[in-house]
């Protein structure tokens, strides 16, 4: 099932290209935020599932283009992002030491929304296409062998990144408002047979920039959940984004259209606005690609000469 939120506080399910309003499955409940709706659906999915499915079966829905889709997790309690977590098409001899950072819940935006580049003097702003794991069950100190029991579903995520600010500070580089495009939907785990074998693609103005497979991940999904949950209690509605392959990163700038699509997670489209109208070379940032792959030891990631 592909679950989403639309028109602010309506619960929807994709039926082909259409969206069926399944809010009837939760009528009478009190929620204090759209995130609260999705948290409840995730935490109690077994009790909502058949009711939702009945509504989907009985309705054709409306074209997705006729509604405003918001992020399926519009304000997650924990948005945990894995750092440097790909083998860069096998170019790395070993995974980087496992690490993560928290990204602000205020960074989250949804389909059709706009990434607003701040006036801060970043060297470059990058898109990072990532597979997001939506947590379905509360867990702490989870063992890798049990990790998949804690995954409710999967979602497209773009970890927009400002380079060259704050000497590598993740708060400064990653947490800007609007730097967390997510969606359009959460695809439940039963529809993703092998999350470690998914094509991940990202386009800027219809030109393919990132094109990699989740099988190139440095620390695999089970290990990410194991490691993150050594630190913090994971709860339904939390999200772990699993990092990006840096081969194919490039600048984003005013007027750009960015699309990401992971197999079976539908396509997410967002736009970019920069009041300062700064310009960078279009296309792939080869210096960052080379640095991430270990072909060079300097340059890239917005390093200033």
């Amino acid at each position: 099932m592909k679950l989403l939120l639309f028109d602010r506080d309506k619960l929807g399910v994709y039926k082909g290209e259409n969206i069926v309003d399944v809010s009837g499955a939760i009528s009478g409940n009190t929620y204090f935020s759209p995130q609260g709706i999705m948290n409840d659906i995730i935490a109690n999915f077994s009790s909502y599932k058949s009711k939702i499915q009945e509504i989907v079966n009985a309705n054709d829905g409306v074209p997705a283009s006729s509604v405003k889709i918001s992020a399926p997790l519009p304000y997650p309690n924990q948005l945990i992002a894995m750092a440097v977590n790909y083998m860069e098409f096998g170019a790395r001899s070993a995974p980087a030491p496992i690490n993560a950072f928290l990204k602000s819940p205020d960074s989250v935006i949804g389909n059709g929304d706009t990434v607003e580049l701040p006036s801060a003097d970043a060297a470059i702003f990058h898109h990072e296409a990532e597979l997001g794991l939506v947590i379905g069950k509360k867990g702490f100190k989870i063992q890798a062998k049990d990790a998949y029991d804690y995954i409710f579903g999967y979602v497209n995520f773009i970890d927009v990144s400002a380079r060259g600010l704050g000497n590598g500070s993740f708060y400064w580089g990653k947490s800007w408002d609007t730097f967390g495009p997510m969606g359009p939907c959460i695809t439940t785990a039963d529809e993703i047979s092998d999350p470690q074998n998914l094509d991940i693609k990202l386009w800027v103005n219809d030109v393919l920039r990132q094109d990699f497979n989740s099988n190139d991940m440095g620390h695999n999904i089970a290990r990410c959940i194991e490691w993150v949950s050594q630190t913090t209690v994971l709860e339904p509605g939390d999200i772990i984004v699993t990092g990006t392959n840096h081969q194919g990163l490039g600048a984003i700038q005013d007027g750009d259209k960015i699309e990401i699509e992971i197999e079976n997670l539908n396509r997410l489209t967002v736009y970019v606005k920069d009041n300062l109208k700064r310009e960078w070379p279009t296309g792939i940032d080869q210096a960052t690609a080379d640095r991430a792959a270990g072909r060079t030891t300097s340059g890239g990631f917005g390093e200033r000469s």
Binding site: T30, K103, A120, F170, Q230, T231
Partner: protein
Amino acid sequence: MKLLLFDDYQLGVLNKDGNVVNVSQEVENFDKMPPNLRVVEVINNWSKYQPKFNNCIENNSGTDISGHKILPPLPKPGKMVCMAVNYMENGTRSEPAPINAFLKSPNSVIGDGDTIEMSEQDAIVFEHEAELAMIIGKEAKNAKQDDWRDYIFGYMNFIDVSSRGLGAPPMDSFFAMKSPNTSAPMGPFIVTADEIPDPLNLDVKLWVNGKLRQDYHTSDMAHKIPRCIEWTSSITKLNPGDIVPTGTNHRGLGPIHDGDKIEMEIENMGKLTVFVKDSLKRQWADETRLERQEKGEKETMAPRIK
């Protein structure tokens, strides 16, 4: 006014005798509201609730606070944006470190009387960082320094427990170092900003097992409160109920161990007491960073001895 959550997330206000007056039923939808939103609702509608609460505490003798279980006033904040390296260390720094911050997990929060459960991961040392925390009262985005008071609802004690060396240093490893479960003791209550006329003129003290470890003054802050509000809100919107701890003076930091009792008190903010549990019973030399410096030790932090 001093606001707290207690027992089963009831909302309390302290009266002039320091007793707890239950004001929960003054708040709309209180019983339906998740605990983490109860104080946020009050902050969002403070002008409505303040006179009602005042009326409650004037007309109610309340109950002794010691008879209640005190809970963290913001049990799961929307965001905790913590200032990093933000003191002049009693003037020993020649200039402030570049301004920086990190996010701490909302799930790391504990309250008065609770226990810090040290991670079993192999940290170099676990240290307490006593901090003045600001509670945001109004949405702030690109706030101007001069308007800083408009955005602050109140203040409270905050201990930024730090698990040194976890993660992947030298990469920014604040998640593993700062977000371990139970690493954010706060409270016992929020003091509204009207009772703290000058937050840069406060004594901050922290004791471990009755021995004074940290004893510093907020006037030593490097990037002052107006700048912290301006800078953090330039990156991410600050919302009512978000928490911004302002950093610590590191000179009195020292190791914490299984069985320790930690107490922290900032003037007029009550005393926060928490305990420490370490299932591995690790031990470090019982020395603060300043004591080690004065002995001429090369390593800043206390070494592990068991």
